[in-house]
Symmetry: C2
Subunit: 378 residues, 2 copies
């Protein structure tokens, strides 16, 4: 396809696949799409190994890296730059709460062990270190979320000719990112999995496209949030997007990092089975609804902690939950969850990542010719 976004990033078909799994990234890029490795949960050393593997397997096809450099840090954790001092901020009440929640589902967890000093790595320091690693590889895109892309990312992107993409959930944020110098805006609607705003993709994308054009910014927009099919991709391109940014659809692929228990949950889930909650990372993020959210968002909850403290509680808990389910504890399935968007209601079976790209291409072509026929018959 011949649009500015394809020329800028080198892909054939502007289907951007965000995944924490290197196999998905490689499979998508080799199938003509554009794989983007979600790096936020890696240490810099791990990311280096992941990118080396991708470079060896991607056959020179373009790929990108997504980091999370939070623009703002909650005052409760500002100045605490190491895991131990952060962990000390987590109250006994929170430790007991998670311990009791897991224990009530047959997952043993001592309150003393309930907190990791590692967390999910979403800190400005780790984000900056990951960015440095990414720029040492032949990436064709670097993306950021949770605020304005840091000046160092924009400067290095420009110096190296690597487009910088930024995820936004509101028109005002898109205009701020454009003014800061980002090259691509990913307009992500509130139905998206992970961190998201409240405006729907169908409204947000044309609103952002119009606002950028009105302010004189010639910046391509990717549509994100709820897109699981080529028909939806064509739809959002009809509203002015130059391509689609997708995440949830890859979680149900054979290559994905997700557990069997979670993939089974995805296939069973309807679109109404997600929830936007602070209870996994500390910022509002859409997830598969489970007993975890009923507890943390319920009346007896001690309340979600700020980022990154919430992840230091939730990540070890979910690791235990997954292990417990894998060991045969069916009660723990009620707690199983992961970041996923409302599009989960469109997931019917596990496919390979390559098959997903092929399906998107076919559905896209079918949607466009269906529309053209409708006009023709007028």
């Amino acid at each position: 396809m011949n649009n500015a976004l394809c020329r800028m990033t080198g892909c054939d078909f502007p289907l951007f696949a965000f995944s924490h799994c290197r196999d998905v990234v490689v499979a998508v890029s080799k199938a003509g799409g554009f794989g983007v490795l979600g790096a936020a949960r890696f240490s810099p050393e791990q990311l280096e190994l992941e990118l080396q593997w991708i470079d060896e397997h991607v056959d020179g096809r373009p790929y990108g890296v997504d980091v999370l450099v939070p623009e703002t840090v909650d005052p409760r954790v500002a100045g605490l730059s190491d895991g131990t001092s952060r962990a000390a901020q987590i109250s006994d009440e929170h430790r007991r709460f998670v311990s009791e929640l897991l224990t009530s589902h047959g997952v043993a967890m001592d309150p003393e062990e309930a907190v990791s000093t590692q967390g999910n790595g979403i800190t400005p320091e780790n984000g900056a270190a990951l960015m440095e690693v990414a720029f040492r590889h032949p990436i064709r895109l670097i993306a950021n979320a949770l605020g304005i892309a840091p000046p160092a990312m924009i400067e290095q992107g420009k110096a190296r000719g690597i487009p910088v993409a930024a995820l936004v959930g509101a028109k005002e944020h898109a205009l701020r990112q454009a003014a800061a110098g980002v090259d691509i805006i990913v307009a992500q609607g509130g139905e998206a999995g992970g961190h998201c705003g409240e405006v729907s993709t169908l409204v947000l994308v044309p609103e952002v496209v119009r606002a950028l054009a009105g302010a004189g910014h010639d910046i391509p927009v990717l549509a994100a949030g709820g897109i699981m099919t080529g028909g939806q991709m064509a739809a959002m391109m009809a509203t002015g997007a130059q391509g689609a940014w997708t995440g949830s659809v890859w979680l149900a692929t054979a290559e994905s990092e997700t557990s069997e228990a979670f993939r089974a949950g995805m296939i069973a889930a309807r679109s109404r089975d997600t929830v936007r909650s602070r209870s996994r990372t500390g910022k509002p993020a859409r997830q598969l609804r489970s007993a975890w959210h009923a507890a943390w968002d319920g009346q007896d909850s001690p309340g979600a902690l700020p980022m990154p403290l919430m992840g230091m509680v939730s990540e070890p808990a979910f690791a235990r939950i997954e292990r417990s389910v894998a060991a045969g504890n069916e009660d723990a399935r009620e707690l199983v969850s992961y970041f996923v968007g409302q599009g989960v209601g469109l997931v019917e079976a596990e496919r390979s990542a390559r098959a997903v790209v092929q399906d998107f291409r076919a559905e896209f072509a079918e949607a466009v010719s269906g529309l053209a026929d409708m006009i023709g018959e007028d």
Copy 2:
């Protein structure tokens, strides 16, 4: 355009315009779209007059009527069939709360006068009476929301050859409506103005289309929620809808029943300036966010009342607020609100209803040819 929905309803361009204003209904139908008069707030006598006027002015073009026959009635009001006995259920605390809220914005309201025995008319009895009136006119569609269309509507529709449409916010509801015999499903996403669910239009429409086909129902789907442009209409038709059902976009037309204060609010609003709240009708409905919602959904609120009691409090209040603004009380503008979807962020100016239809047609054609060109350049 030649699809099943156009053949079924007799329109040229499958743009369905829900409006409480007969002028909008007539203007849209005469411009090749399909006007649908929202009748729920009328008495049967008023509706009769409105439809006589439409019949005299619509030049034989097809139009429809939308009634609200709630499928379920809150136990707190079940069995109370007259306004006076319903009004007696509204506590002094609720009366004082609305009186104090209005007074604090310079709108005088005695707690004794805070409740109307009329309300917004959304009761099963009024809905059934409105339906009888509608069927006496040459309508080409009757639509219902808030649950399964009543058997009498489906039977009379079939007997008279009038398609029955039902609004749904979830796949399961679509399947129930189809099984009950409705002819058209309006799949309305959570970004819509008025009563709405939580799943976005972009996800809900393909989910509903797929579920209906999977269950063997050959029923056309209209996409609703957030659609303000022909590009968005084309978008949702790329996901399997046969047309668009729209509401908010008509509120900013010159013909609309809305006040100058509300239209000014619409033009100023961003997509984030709406809220889904029970505080106007008693059921979750999306509205322009104002000081009304901050109060009713806030910590000191006595809580929203069930339908139809909430409307018996809110409708007289909003009537006073509008009058107060019109009389020059700028403080009362902070309370001004009305049902509107997130698409309000795409409203930039007041237009005529006819111009809106023409813009939709042009934007639709442009979106489709843009997509076709993109494929052609592959």
